[in-house]
Amino acid sequence: MPDDKRVAVLGAGMHPWGKWGRNFVEYGLAAAGDALAEAGLPWTDIQYVAGADTIRNGYPGFVAGATFAQALGWTGARVSSAYAACASGAQAINNARAQILAGLCDVALVVGADTTPKGFFTPVGGDRKDDPDWLRFHLMGATNPTYFALYARRRMELFGATEADFAAVKVKNARHGLENPYARYRKEVTADEVLSSPMVADPLRLLEICATSDGGAALVLCSMEFARRHAGKADLVTIDAVSTVTPRFPQTIIEMPNFSTDSSATTASVGPTFKQSVALAAYEEAGIGPEDVSLAEVYDLSSALELDWYEDIGLCKQGEAERMLRDGDTTLGGRVPVNASGGLSCFGEAIPAQAIAQVCELVWQLRGQATGRQVEGARVGITANQGLFGHGSSVIVSR
């Protein structure tokens, strides 16, 4: 891949996920500090800061990229702030990448962090009768797991997925995350434990729905020229694609927080679904296909949703995800391990940090540094994620 189409990852850093109850800035700073240390660069060398924003910790100024820049000490570095719900981190990565590829800066810091409340995510407060996110709670009592469960039930009806399959995803991911020092939940679970956990949104049970977590993640990105100068001839890990696509009309699959799909009565729905298009755009940009992928980090907001992603990122055909899972293809040691980090299942979601954390994991995997969860010989990894309101997110990383 030509140097003017990719950026190098010099450093990755994370603050462990958990329910620490501290200020989110602290997690972001810890992650940034680790990423800078890996990169071997002082903060004062960073020319551009791309923040991935949270919305749960105050007014927009407080949660922006500049918050991290100020906390690290003002240096005059340029800054951007991105909010795209769960896809915020990918937007921040893309902002930094665009600056580097445009030649506007050589080296950038990407950082996202969050502190989350307990329980269901709730909409912004007030009496917001023009906000679909507020209205879906008010008029239907439709939480995020409601939507995850609609997809899960659909898989059961269309493809013969079973509750045992969904539980097997959780069992697999729990095992993957056992040795991950950044994971919040590091405990094996059995299928029986999953299947006897309380039902939340039929057919999904408590242990199959991702928790909300505190956490922070950061990356130091730079131009290929800067990387060679700085890191010598070392094997470089590069970001080869960042997909931030939106859906195409008509969007015929019900999506959070909507009440309805688009109508296809006057305009036929053709081509890939939104989730398929997220990864397709990344593959096209990187000039590779699913057959080139060594591992994937996908957004398992629910155990069942992970199966949808197998198909949507092209690891198998539609309806074949359960077979892949049952054959062990997506387990560590299998053909293409999925969520070797343990996934959201072991992390819970720290929204603006999560898409960055997915890339951190791929970076460590490609360098052979993922102790206890290493995918042997990994060369190419892909992340996939989707942010509320139509934000696609997929990043391809290679070595």
Binding site: E157, D202, F249, A265, T267
Partner: protein
């Protein structure tokens, strides 16, 4: 004991016809695209420059695309009854409009009574109440034309 006034939980999204209620969507006067809730400003069809919309009552019956339930009480701004009573939800395909519309399923009908493909119809039901009002919303109810699992 006074009778409470029945008012819509949201204005303009459905008719208050207790026997034959309909959801009120919109149709673009240029391209004919349906939308729910109503489109009021820009047609969402990227190939259309439409800015005007006619009110469009949507089909009263449809088939279940998928379904689930809410075993735990949803947080505010959902106004839950005390004690909380779990309810089912369905995403329903409307054939004429070729769109899927979500809603709660009427009380007493659970996930065991539903299947993908179950025919349902739109009804009005109480969402919550205060001292003077019953706030009503649309819900889906199986017509019995297709049978659920239990039947």
């Amino acid at each position: 004991m006074t009778t409470k006034t029945r008012v819509p939980a949201i204005e303009g999204w459905f008719t208050l016809d207790e026997q034959q209620p309909t959801l009120l969507g919109s149709r673009c006067t240029s391209c004919g695209n349906f939308a729910f809730p109503k489109e009021t400003f820009f047609c969402r069809n990227p190939g259309c420059q439409g800015r005007e919309f006619a009110e469009a009552p949507l089909s009263r019956t449809g088939t279940v695309w998928s379904y689930t339930d809410a075993c735990y009480q949803p947080p505010k701004p959902y106004e839950a009854a005390d004690p909380y009573v779990p309810f089912a939800l369905a995403a329903v395909e409307l054939a004429a409009e070729q769109m899927v519309v979500m809603g709660q399923v009427v009380p007493g009908v659970g996930v065991g009574d539903l299947q993908v493909g179950t025919e349902v119809e739109l009804v009005l039901d109480t969402l919550y109440e205060d001292d003077e009002h019953e706030y009503v919303v649309w819900k889906w109810r199986p017509t019995g034309a297709t049978t659920g699992k239990g039947a």
